[in-house]
């Protein structure tokens, strides 16, 4: 299992968290590369069905931030 990498499907609101993720880049904050970010127009766009879909397709975690 040493090869195993967690994959975390990440929904970020375009107006806040997505900008914050960019700011983390601008500030060169280093964090583990396990997140797969999907930009959404608002965290309200994230239907519970999206979260289930992520797990169904193999995600190990889902993070919604907005």
């Amino acid at each position: 299992m040493s090869e195993w990498e967690a994959k975390i499907t990440t929904f970020l609101c375009n107006w806040c968290s997505y900008g914050a993720a960019d700011l983390a880049g601008v500030s060169r904050f280093q964090y583990p590369p396990n997140f797969r970010i999907i930009r959404v127009p608002c965290s309200a766009r994230v239907s519970p069905k999206f979260i289930l879909a992520a797990f169904r397709h193999g995600a190990d975690g889902v993070w919604v931030s907005g």
């Binding site: 994959k7 499907t9 983390a24 880049g25 797969r36 970010i37 127009p41 766009r45 999206f50 995600a59």
Partner: protein, 1022 residues
């Protein structure tokens, strides 16, 4: 849109200088109905900013934020670019000038040049590369820098072998496009314009004359501009931290501040250059980043001047978290560390008087800014007055007006300044031009037309992927060629390529060509972030006949290479995943039609201090009806307490003049004692409810300018509030003015700086206070030369030409004593020789022991804090920063805009600033607002929800959940109720789509199936 010119004014403006200030002015003008002639003396625009590596305080990549603007200028149909050109003379008067411009030959036909670089490759002559500050060489056939606009080569006739010896012409022989033309001659153009904006910029001080620093003699002593090039990915060392002598990576670097600044010696400049403290901190932080954290850095300084928004916090982070050493000492000389050594020994005296020697691998001289002899000559030719330091003379009240009417200035030409202030002034200069030329707006411009949109509805997706190296920003971590090759294997991808800078102008051309050649109908760019660069690429594909929404971004820089710098392999895997997700979504993208809104041409300005008044007047002068709403009953705000500007102009006279003009202006509605109850609507169509003692009013307007101001705080410290001998800000001078006998009876007066500023609970510097206290100290010394006047300070921040005041104060005998934040002064009430006095205790840093002063009065320079504006911020849906000031859209390049369209900020509500900066910012905000108000319709984001009324059951969950009132139930005959979207109000959040139990609502561009495709592609393991 064509109108007949009125008053025979020319609807064109000349912008002289293609740096960031000139670029901003040109874009604002060209976007609001004026034809722009941009004159640049070098072969390409971009100026100093193009050569910088990063920009403070956010350490944004300079080229990455500048490049979209370069591209926009290069392709704007209402901007005519004249490179290698200089202004010879200006005839005429405001509104009708004729400018003579001399254009030197490029010897390259720009219509034919394809920028392949063969000419430079074949050119046998190497020339010192001035763009790289002499750190490398270029050829005599060259392009200024890789992302240059226009991206066209030029022949440097001063160094070309053909021009020297009459033969060679290798470039001509090998040029595949036949673009070399040695027959080109100098051209002289006569250009008619209504006004002129001078943005010729500055030059970096040349330290060659200061032999104590050994610049030019010791190879590892470099200037700050050279160091920018050393750090820069397109610089001589490709961004690897390298010292010139042996090309080794330095392990220890020193910065020496104030080289050529704050220096009365012949050849140097007396003023403070204002930006060097921040750029040195930035360079130290970026160098540490490049070196991987093992680098030792030390900054030798006199006063740390980090007075701008976010600057002090950067200083604290550098000192406390990043280990940058700050040494308060002026270094007197640099010597080689030993015979034959490339290392450098710095001799300096510590604060407590010890003499030290320390060895560094590299020393950076933080050279100041100055006006070059060429620009002084230009000013004299154009009859523009300069001050004694060579800057354009301007009044604080008309900060962008030169001495010659109709000719405006912006950027460092009228005094040292940083990028945001240059950008502000650029918008202000545009605004002043527009106020002059408003009758001629839209008389010479043409509107952009796009090729007809190709229908892609019946086609299979054909996706093109462009992967960006971003210099080394991405390519230094992520294996870009591997990502490109991987992209080629993805479903629907018919093309994948990589580019050094995908945002550069030549790449836009390449993308358009590739779309044609490969019949692409979807485009994916894997690069920095869509938040800054999506509009650029959308525009590019639109020019190639694709709907702009057939575009998708993969963020592999801000959210990948920059945050996984030490894990290149995993970063590459992530980049591949991100590209796969983008391609999966792109394959399902659909074209979306434009959404246009009518624009209400009225403006609302909130707050009638100096900033609000200046903004309102400018808008009204530009022809827009303006509501000026003020909570109190008086005009002028904080400026009512100020007697003179830093350079001695009368503020009360100015306020009286503004008040008179506002009251007389038939396009300004002044609402005093007015409280804003509610603001609703969106860009172009706002509705505001205002309550006045006389009743409520409803205002309709297209834009909002926030100028709510700031006030000095009054902390319980230093006996403030407990002794009538302790005053704040202007109270003391007002007291002495009212009761002169008090001053006459005085023996001593002291000032304490940074009261409530630069402390953990309020970390920012209030910027104004050093200058204000020193002005008052000088006034006291003038009135009473025998009076003891003492200023207790932490760093004296008399930035720019205010340094003169600091010098004058010392010459007049004002005593300056520094204290540190952990040893703050103490104040007690005492009786001294029968007189009531204050005793101030402070530890003198040079003596290292406590001393006591006895004074009659103590004046505190307390922090400037914003007004409580949380409610207003919520109504306008705009953010505040952690200190309660409004947070602009981008700290460097959008200093007066918010991310929310149609809302702008100026004055103290943005950050503490002196009056001339408030006015420039107000004019800039007015200009940015007028850019919208001058349109009949504006395009808004058409990403809105769509209701499938056949699936809708009329349950009303969507209506209940929509926070914007953008969805409602309507009665459909025979079906009951059905949901309906109101597009203009819809913010595209998608809560309705998530709430709908019937899946009857979907979001354009973020459709269920599009998001699901990205989810699937991201979660898959390949």
């Amino acid at each position: 849109m064509k109108k007949k010119p009125q008053e025979n004014f020319y609807g064109a403006v000349m912008v002289v200088g293609g740096g960031i200030a000139g670029i901003q002015a040109a874009l604002d003008l060209a976007d609001s109905g004026f034809l722009v002639h941009m004159v640049e003396k070098s072969p390409a625009i971009g100026g100093v900013m193009s050569a910088l590596d990063k920009t403070f305080p956010t350490n944004d990549c300079s080229m990455c934020i500048l490049s979209p603007k370069l591209v926009e200028v290069g392709r704007h149909r209402n901007i005519r670019l004249l490179t290698l050109s200089e202004v010879e003379s200006i005839e005429g008067e405001p509104g009708r000038f004729t400018v003579t411009v001399r254009e030197r030959p490029r010897y390259v036909d720009t219509d034919k040049c394809i920028a392949c670089g063969v000419c430079a490759d074949k050119c046998p002559r190497k020339v010192e590369d001035a763009y790289n500050q002499g750190l490398g060489t270029r050829k005599a056939a060259y392009v200024l820098y890789p992302q240059a606009v226009p991206l066209k080569y030029a022949i440097d006739a001063d160094h070309c072998i053909y021009f020297e010896k009459g033969k060679c012409r290798a470039c001509e022989k090998f040029c595949p496009a036949g673009a070399i033309d040695f027959n080109q001659k100098e051209k002289v153009h006569q250009i008619d314009v209504g006004s002129i904006i001078l943005a010729p910029g500055f030059t970096s001080f040349d330290p060659s004359g200061m032999d104590v620093y050994g610049y030019g003699r010791l190879p590892n002593v470099v200037t700050s501009m050279q160091f920018e090039r050393i750090l820069n990915a397109s610089g001589p060392f490709e961004g690897h931290l390298t010292r010139p002598s042996d090309h080794k990576a330095p392990a220890k670097i020193a910065w020496l501040q104030c080289v050529g600044s704050r220096d009365m010696h012949e050849g140097a400049n007396p003023y403070c250059s204002g930006v060097c403290c921040m750029y040195a901190i930035k360079e130290a932080l970026v160098a540490r980043e490049h070196a991987g954290g093992d680098l030792e850095t030390a900054i030798f300084f006199m006063d740390m001047r980090t007075h701008g928004k976010g600057f002090e916090q950067t200083y604290m982070r550098a000192r406390d978290e990043e280990g940058v050493r700050f040494i308060r000492s002026r270094v007197h000389s640099i010597e080689p560390a030993g015979p034959g050594s490339d290392d450098l020994s710095i001799h300096y005296v510590t604060e407590n008087g010890e003499i030290r020697d320390e060895v560094f691998d590299l020393v950076v001289l933080s050279t100041g800014l100055e006006i070059s002899p060429e620009i002084r000559e230009l000013a004299s030719k154009l009859d523009i007055d300069l001050d004694r330091d060579g800057f354009a003379s301007t009044s604080s009240f008309q900060p962008v007006a030169t001495s010659r009417p109709g000719i405006f200035s912006c950027g460092a030409f009228a005094g040292v300044k940083d990028i945001p202030q240059s950008v502000m002034e650029a918008s202000a200069a545009y605004s002043a031009s527009a106020a002059l030329l408003s009758p001629a707006r839209n008389t010479l411009t043409t509107e952009k037309s796009y090729p007809p949109e190709k229908s892609v509805a019946d086609e299979e997706p054909r996706v093109g992927v462009f992967v960006c190296h971003c210099g080394i920003n991405i390519g230094g971590v992520v294996d870009v060629p591997a990502v490109r090759e991987y992209a080629k294997t993805l479903p629907n991808v018919v093309y994948a390529g990589d580019n050094l800078f995908t945002c550069s102008q030549d790449t836009q051309e390449n993308i358009r060509k590739t779309i044609q050649e490969h019949r692409l109908n979807r485009v994916v760019v894997a690069a920095c972030t869509p938040r800054t660069h999506e509009p650029l690429f959308q525009e590019t594909i639109r020019e190639a006949g694709l709907n702009p929404y057939l575009f998708e971004f993969a963020n592999i820089r801000d959210q990948d290479s920059w945050v996984h710098q030490k894990e290149p392999e995993r970063a590459t895997t992530k980049a591949k995943d991100l590209v796969r997700m983008a391609v999966a979504k792109a394959s399902l993208l659909e074209p979306i039609d434009r959404l246009q809104l009518e624009v209400n041409h009225n403006a609302l300005v909130i707050g009638a201090g100096v900033a609000g008044m200046a903004a309102a007047l400018n808008l009204a002068d530009q022809g827009f009806h303006t509501f000026l709403v003020e909570r109190s009953g008086v005009l002028g705000g904080q400026a009512n307490n100020v007697r003179t500007t830093w350079n001695g102009e009368s503020v009360p006279d100015f306020i009286a003049d503004l008040t008179r003009r506002i009251q007389a202006h038939d396009r300004i509605d002044l609402l005093l004692e007015a409280d804003i109850q509610d603001i609703s609507g969106f860009v172009g169509n706002f509705t505001t409810k205002v309550k006045q003692p006389s009743g409520e009013k409803t205002l309709e307007h297209g834009v909002v300018i926030v100028a709510t101001g700031g006030v000095p705080c009054s902390p319980q410290e230093y006996l403030n509030g407990e002794s009538d001998r302790v005053t704040v800000w202007h109270e003391l001078e007002q007291l002495f003015e009212k009761e002169p006998e008090r001053l006459a009876a005085c023996d001593g007066v002291a000032f304490i700086q940074c009261v409530g500023s630069r402390e953990p609970e309020r970390p920012y510097c209030s910027k104004l206070c050093c200058t204000a206290s020193i002005q008052q100290a000088i006034a006291l010394k003038k009135a009473r030369p025998d009076l003891d006047v003492t200023v207790l300070y932490r760093d004296i921040r008399t930035f720019g030409q205010r340094e003169d005041l600091y010098r004058e104060a010392r010459e007049r005998g004002v005593l300056f004593i520094r204290f540190s934040v952990d040893q703050k002064p103490t104040v007690e009430k005492v009786d001294k020789d029968g007189k009531k006095m204050l005793r101030i205790g402070v530890t003198d840093p040079i003596l290292g022991r406590p001393i006591h002063l006895y004074v009659d009065y103590l004046n505190l320079a307390t922090a400037i804090v914003p007004r409580p504006v949380e409610d207003l911020a919520k109504m306008l849906k705009v953010p505040l920063n952690e200190d309660g000031f409004f947070l602009e859209a981008h700290i460097k390049l959008r200093p007066v805009d918010f991310s929310t369209d149609g809302v702008f900020v100026c004055g103290l509500a943005h950050y503490p600033k002196p009056i001339e900066e408030s006015i420039a910012q107000a004019q800039a905000a007015a200009g940015r607002a007028a850019r919208l108000l001058s349109q009949e319709t504006i395009d808004v984001e058409p990403i809105v929800s769509v209701v499938d009324q056949d699936l809708c059951i009329g349950c009303g969950l969507c209506e209940a959940s929509c926070p914007f009132g953008a969805i409602r139930l309507v009665e459909v005959p025979g079906k009951g109720y059905r949901a309906e979207n109101i597009s203009a109000l819809c913010k595209g959040c998608g809560v309705c789509a998530a709430a709908c139990p019937q899946k009857a609502i979907d979001m354009k561009h973020f459709r269920d199936r599009q998001i699901r495709a990205a989810i699937r592609a991201g979660a898959e393991r390949i």
